[in-house]
């Protein structure tokens, strides 16, 4: 075997540089280094950094003096790519940003487009109920991933397997409704792409019953577990002043005791008509955030139950805006081949009406035009305020779509949370922020 090209030692202006990568640790313990601070690189490919996050840590023994986050390893150019697609196709792109909570991305985007179109008050009730339902189920699945991966990173593998097991149940419901497990592109400007298939309500009721049985397991497993508490309590502290200065929202903000939740403060899609509580805690540390996530899942479950009731009472109502110049997909129904165009619609455009065919062709190939202007639409994602700043030049494609992703902003807190602590607490602090790198880098 040849010598490792990456494991080498060299000198730099600020001291000796070691590129040890395993198996050659004994080269480090030279006496001249006694008492020196070490700058170590962690990531971007590290199992405990929650994705492709890179941390540059300056440590003295086990104490972290300086922590910097390096991001951009998953930069995908989604925002630029959206400028080359129609407004409807944009949903397909933005859903892939924060892939743990895809519906939040879609929601922020379609909300901004609808505001630009001026059709916010024409979204049908059933479409709004379905959107709220999906968002809340997604909140549960996202929090489950947060708890699961956080548990895995501190060595609690059972928490991880439990979390993914329960998330799987929610994904089954997503698949039933949207046809996909992840990256759904289900919300569309004007409504949702299709109505719920038969039997969804029954499936959802079973799901809620199952989750009610399973969610207490996390509390039983973790809440009073001395190791868990020892790792999480008083770790990654950040008080209200720090949180606001850094623009952090979501569970981290609520762990400081401020009851800021956009679902209540700036309600959208009828959230003000649902009965639920905003969870806050006066423990601005990793444990408080963990508890908030856990309790928020129960509140989401409450909303889901109310949604199911409303789904029953709105059965058969439209899920897409009436304006046919915007409503696309025009009509869908699953055919015998598993593909989805409604035979009536095809018969209509191909056999009966030339105008309908022209219209369909224009809508599908060119898309609809959105009046010029800019809009900013913010919603409460599982991680905090996610918002879309959409700019239109009056054309059929976004002139610019920028996403304010909560993971991006919240990750700035990692320095403040981990400096002065121990090396192992950095992992806990990052896990309590729950950044999703797809959202951070976009």
């Amino acid at each position: 075997m040849s010598a490792d090209p990456y494991a080498d030692t060299s000198e730099s202006t600020s001291g000796q540089v070691f590129n040890v990568t395993g198996g050659d640790w004994d080269t480090i313990s030279t006496d001249s280094l006694e008492g020196d601070r070490l700058v170590i690189n962690m990531g971007p490919q590290h199992p405990s950094t929650h994705g492709v996050l890179r941390l540059i840590l300056e440590i003295d023994g086990e104490t972290v003096h300086d922590a910097r986050a390096g991001i951009g390893y998953l930069h995908t150019g989604i925002e630029k790519n959206m400028e080359f697609r129609t407004w409807t196709q944009g949903v397909t792109f933005c859903t892939r940003m924060d892939y743990v909570a895809p519906f939040s991305n879609e929601a922020a985007y379609v909300g901004a487009v609808e505001r630009l179109l001026g059709i916010e008050d024409q979204i049908t009730e059933r479409a709004q109920v379905i959107r709220v339902l999906m968002l809340e189920l997604n909140r549960i699945s996202s929090h489950l991933v947060a708890i699961a991966t956080g548990g895995m990173e501190i060595g609690a593998l059972t928490v991880m397997t439990c979390g993914f097991r329960d998330r799987e149940e929610i994904l089954k419901a997503f698949e039933l409704i949207t046809g996909l497990r992840m990256n759904h592109a289900y919300f569309r400007p004007g409504g949702v792409s299709q109505d719920l298939p038969d039997g969804t309500v029954g499936h959802l009721r079973d799901l809620v019953a199952l989750l009610k049985k399973r969610l207490p397991e996390y509390a039983a497993l973790c809440n009073a577990n001395p190791i868990f508490k020892g790792r999480l309590k008083q770790v990654g502290r950040l008080d209200l002043a720090g949180v606001l200065a850094l623009g952090i929202t979501g569970p981290i903000l609520r762990s400081t005791g401020l009851d800021w939740d956009l679902r209540v403060k700036q309600p959208y899609w009828g959230y003000d008509t649902y009965d639920f509580d905003v969870i806050t805690r006066d423990e601005p540390d990793a444990y408080g955030r963990f508890m908030i996530r856990q309790l928020e899942m129960w509140e989401s479950l409450r909303i889901v139950e109310q949604c199911i009731d409303r789904l029953e009472s709105t059965q058969g109502q439209p899920v897409m805006i009436a304006d046919r110049k915007i409503a696309w997909p025009a009509q869908l129904s699953v055919g015998s081949d598993g593909q989805g165009n409604s035979p009536e619609h095809i018969a209509h455009i191909m056999g009966e009406s030339m105008e309908a065919l022209i219209h369909h062709f224009k809508l599908v190939t060119e898309g609809f035009r959105v009046p010029a202007g800019q809009a900013y639409f913010a919603i409460e994602s599982p991680k905090g305020e996610i918002a879309c700043h959409a700019v239109s030049d009056g054309g059929t494609r976004p002139f610019r779509a920028h996403f304010r992703d909560p993971s991006f902003v919240n990750l700035q807190g990692v320095s403040a949370m981990s400096e002065g602590g121990m090396l192992s607490d950095v992992i806990v602090a990052v896990a309590s922020i729950d950044p999703v790198m797809g959202g951070v880098d976009r």
Binding site: M1, D4, P5, Y6, T21, G22, G23, P44, Q45, H46, P47, G51, V52, G72, Y73, L74, H75, T76, G77, I78, K80, N81, T92, F93, R96, Y99, V100, V145, T149, M160, T161, F164, R165, R167, E168, R181, M182, N183, M437, G438, D441
Partner: protein
């Protein structure tokens, strides 16, 4: 690596090949190389319901030095590509690469400045898995197909000849844009 290169090909070696292939395929240790959405599906693959532990693969190695399979799960950005290559170089041979998802296979829907249009620009890929994201079942299937090919991998001089042959075949192949006929 080592002894097998010096051995002559023949009856003895083909039996050894079968045995080595059997051991290699049955102790497959993937490196965690999760990048994007596909990584979540890769984690699901190791979690209950899909449970990769059923075929002895639940041990995702955090260190590339202990792994022989790299599942590139997600979109590889220009910034990540050098890191990816370094990880690959750190893996001991024999090693395999599985490009999971269309992003890793060809750039997928992100045909733009930021994304490497297929991880095969950076490392040799043994198995491409389409889908966005591929379902965990599809990942299981891809891994079984990969295991099948590992079982039949040759050793020593035969392997070198095989590599040369594959290389020639690829060089002589008609580029996709020049292939005519029905799209399939």
């Amino acid at each position: 690596m080592g002894l097998e290169e010096k051995l002559p090909s023949g009856v003895l070696l083909s039996t050894v090949e079968g045995l080595a292939g059997y051991f290699r395929k049955a102790s497959f240790w993937p490196a965690t190389f999760g990048l994007a959405c596909c990584a979540i599906e890769m984690m699901t693959f190791g979690a209950p319901r899909y449970d990769s532990g059923r075929f002895g693969m639940e041990v995702f190695r955090p260190s590339p030095r202990q792994a022989d399979l790299m599942i590139v799960a997600g979109r590889v950005s220009q910034k990540m590509a050098p890191v990816l290559r370094q990880i690959y170089d750190q893996m001991p041979g024999p090693k395999w690469v599985l490009a999971m998802g269309v992003c890793a296979s060809s750039g997928g829907m992100f045909n733009n400045y930021a994304i490497v249009q297929g991880v095969d620009h950076v490392v040799p890929v043994d198995m491409y898995l389409p889908g966005c994201p591929p379902r965990p079942e599809m990942l299981i299937d891809a891994i079984f197909k990969l295991r099948e090919s590992i079982q039949n991998t040759q050793l020593g001089a035969d392997r070198l000849a095989e590599i040369r042959e594959e290389e020639q075949a690829v060089l002589a192949a008609l580029p996709t844009s020049a292939q005519a006929g029905l799209m399939r």
